[in-house]
């Protein structure tokens, strides 16, 4: 059975003449334990799909089923947040500047009603490769990669089954990106997670995902598996352009 099932999803912002249709008629499904990628350029609506699933973008129509349960509107219950968590793009913006790592994780555990918070915080930090040394630091005392690890630990705190990854490494250096991507690979194997990952970077999606959807100005133009991507067998012209721009070093202009 599929873990995420999306059909005819429309997402819009604003009302009346100001209405902007960010996503139009998107359909795809993600199997349990699968890693699915959404690729597109800025403004293509790929992140908006994640925000619609989590209820952060409340204006949408269509059908979104999570683990067989249909979602409605912008309200989500506790059970949903136990099951679905999200890692944000910019680790410099996704941590509260006045909360220490300890506060962030303890609060999350408390909200999910998990007992024995002290021991869990320690094991979460170990899980994401940070260790106890980092526990009482504030975000400004951490590097970008360390912050993203904290953000991942926060997402994992409630032991979710689905992780929505919104460009989790685009703000990081390539060497740190490799570490975070490896961490995500390990965590998925350990916890049997389902990933829905958004990125503009085709090689990253190619590395992380089993299948992917290519988006352009709010619409999914192509759904393909990663084998086809690697073999450069894209059906849609736009996908081919993207591939060309991100793989082969372009010809010198002179």
């Amino acid at each position: 059975m599929s873990m995420i099932e999306i059909e005819g999803l429309n997402v819009w912002f604003g009302h009346g003449p100001d209405r902007v249709d960010a996503v139009r008629g998107a359909s795809f499904s993600v199997a349990r334990g699968e890693s699915f990628g959404l690729v597109g350029e800025s403004g293509s609506g790929k992140s908006t799909i994640l925000r619609a699933i989590t209820g952060l973008a409340p204006d949408w129509s269509g059908r979104v089923d999570i683990d067989g349960q249909a979602l409605a509107g912008g309200k989500r219950d506790r059970a949903f947040f136990r099951k679905v968590q999200m890692v944000f793009q910019d680790p410099y913006a996704s941590l509260h500047p006045r909360h220490s790592v300890d506060q962030v994780l303890s609060e999350t555990l408390h909200l999910h009603g998990i007992p024995d918070i002290d021991a869990r915080v320690r094991s979460l930090l170990d899980d994401v490769g940070l260790g106890g040394r980092f526990r009482f630091r504030y975000p400004h005392q951490l590097s970008g990669g360390q912050r993203q690890r904290v953000a991942i630990a926060r997402a994992l705190a409630g032991e979710p089954e689905i992780l929505l990854l919104d460009e989790p490494t685009s703000a990081l250096d390539v060497s740190v990106q490799a570490e975070i991507l490896n961490l995500l690979t390990d965590l998925r194997a350990e916890h049997g997670l389902t990933y829905l990952m958004v990125s503009h970077d085709l090689p990253v999606i190619g590395h992380m995902c089993d299948r992917l959807a290519v988006m352009k100005s709010g619409e999914i133009v192509e759904v393909m598996d990663v084998g086809a991507l690697r073999a450069m067998r894209a059906e849609h012209e736009y996908t081919r352009d993207l591939l060309a721009a991100s793989v082969a070093p372009g010809p010198h202009s002179a």
């Binding site: 952060l56 219950d77 947040f81 996704s94 009482f136």
Partner: protein, 304 residues
Amino acid sequence: MSETLTLRQWLLTDEPTSRRHARLASLYKGWLTLRGNTMAMFGLGILVALVLMALFAPLIAPHDPYVQNLGNRLQPLGSPGHPFGTDSLGRDILSRLIYGSRITLYIVTLVALIAPVAGLLVGTVAGYVGGWVDVILMRVTDIFLAFPRLVLALAFVAALGAGIENAVLAISLTAWPPYARMARAETLTIRASDYISAVRLQGASPVRIITRHIWPLCISSLIVRVTLDMAGIILAAAGLGFLGLGAQPPSPEWGAMISEGRRFILDHWWVATMPGLAIFTVSLAFNLLGDGLRDVLDPKEGSQ
């Protein structure tokens, strides 16, 4: 590396080992930033002196501030036993200023407790909840903002009756709207940030988000703003006192003292000038401190 750390190193660490350690370390770093700002330290010094003066007024004051001596009235500056002279009823001006600092501090503290808290509450709720709640709360704020401050305070005092408590209430009622506007503006930016989205995705309630996540970020800029506004609050209190609607005679409130001295200002200028200088000094001190606090507390200005 030696294992023994000096207190300073322990406080300056980037790797705190406990909650208390982390908190102390960030406090200490803030203090060091503030200490580097000479003008702010000057302001802080004056304010500490003011607090000490208010605490130990009976010990410091050379005379009883209420005892009249009509034979000794309107003595000039530097007369024996009365360095700041005496007023129209022969009371020692220096002693009255020292006791007056208690009233000033009392007013300032109460206003500083009431107005920003009310503003914070209204502003963050309006900003976070949005929709018609926002519209109603902000229109109410606008109505308060549309009145000239002193006139509104006058109206309140006239309705409630003259006296220090009512003056404090009136000033607070006129002082909160700017804080509400500021808190709302900050909340709107904070609300859109990823860390608020993240905590919403943990299922946190709006009350929790506002009190635990938004308030700590608004409070620092509020503190700065309040310190900068303190001068205005002291002046408003003095203004009410001057108009006879604040502290009532014979209490040595600084504004009321100016008001009394007004009648002799041409021949006996010091009677009005000395409390005026006191107000000026304290207002300036608050402004200097506020400016320094901005560097410490405001994340937008401070971090480099």
